[in-house]
């Protein structure tokens, strides 16, 4: 099982005006690494990102603290004047956790990055 990693930078989407960005993560997202995830997402919002795609295709495990970080990011986007967060999930059990926690009702879960970027491209 691959250990946790998080992309160095947000990958900007050239088709947008710069506030849509994609961040890749992989491995196991738990209480140990949640502070790193929170810091990166808070930093992105401070940098003016308002439409965020988290590509979790390589994530094999997500716990309630990491889920809490994503939920908190939605709140922070609202507090920053509004925005959207979408995730890309390939692992069936990870998708199941979004469903169990009900977070799929506030964060759109997509099966491909293209689908997520396309969905947020129409959100203003």
């Amino acid at each position: 099982m691959r250990s946790f990693y998080i992309g160095d930078n947000f990958e900007e989407d050239d088709s947008s005006d710069g506030d849509l960005a994609v961040l890749m993560m992989g491995g196991e997202l738990d209480y140990e690494v949640s502070p790193q995830i929170r810091a990166r997402l808070v930093g992105a919002i401070k940098d003016g990102r308002r439409r965020l795609v988290l590509d979790l295709s390589d994530v094999t495990f997500i716990d309630s603290t990491a889920i809490g970080v994503l939920a908190g990011t939605v709140v922070k986007l609202d507090e920053a004047g509004g925005g959207s967060l979408a995730v890309v999930c390939a692992h069936e059990k990870v998708v199941q956790i979004f469903e169990i926690t009900g977070l799929d009702s506030v964060i759109a879960v997509h099966s491909t990055r293209e689908e997520a970027v396309s969905a947020l491209s129409f959100v203003r």
Binding site: S64, T65, I100
Partner: protein, 139 residues
């Protein structure tokens, strides 16, 4: 990390693991739970759910509980013919989570997740600590 294994009078396998109450020990607890679940005979899906539930209980113990005088939390396993039970004991005061908070709350999901992932969750709340017992029935 200290482990021990024995069988009780009823022939149930029991083992114990004492872990430092640190975030970095979570992966150790998951590996332990995964090995136990597989050895018991849980299928990969059931084993995954068992590991995630254990992860939640150990996270709670590290996050909200307190360790013993040696800085440890206590994990134990009992397996018999029908079920495997994983217990997590800490020495802090239990704080009941807000179960009906907003869906975008950044906390309070651990207990509900445990309940949805295993067949039975038992909470034993005492003045000196809290024990969470997570049971999976043999498929």
């Amino acid at each position: 990390m200290a482990t021990s294994e024995q069988h009780d009078a009823a022939g149930r396998a029991e083992s114990e693991l004492h872990l430092p109450a640190r975030r970095s020990e979570l992966s150790v607890a998951r590996k332990y739970a995964g090995d136990v679940g597989a050895e018991f005979g849980l299928d990969p899906d059931g084993c995954y759910d068992f590991v995630l539930a254990v992860n939640e209980a150990v996270t709670n113990a590290i996050r909200h509980g307190a360790s013993d005088e040696r800085g440890l939390i206590h994990l134990s396993i009992v397996a018999d013919e029908d079920r495997v039970t994983f217990s997590v004991r800490d020495f802090g005061s239990f704080v009941m989570p807000v179960m009906d908070g907003p869906v975008n709350s950044d906390h309070g999901r651990g207990l509900a997740m445990m309940a949805s992932l295993v067949d039975e969750v038992q909470l034993e709340i005492e003045p000196g600590g809290t024990t969470v017992r997570l049971s999976k029935v043999r498929p």
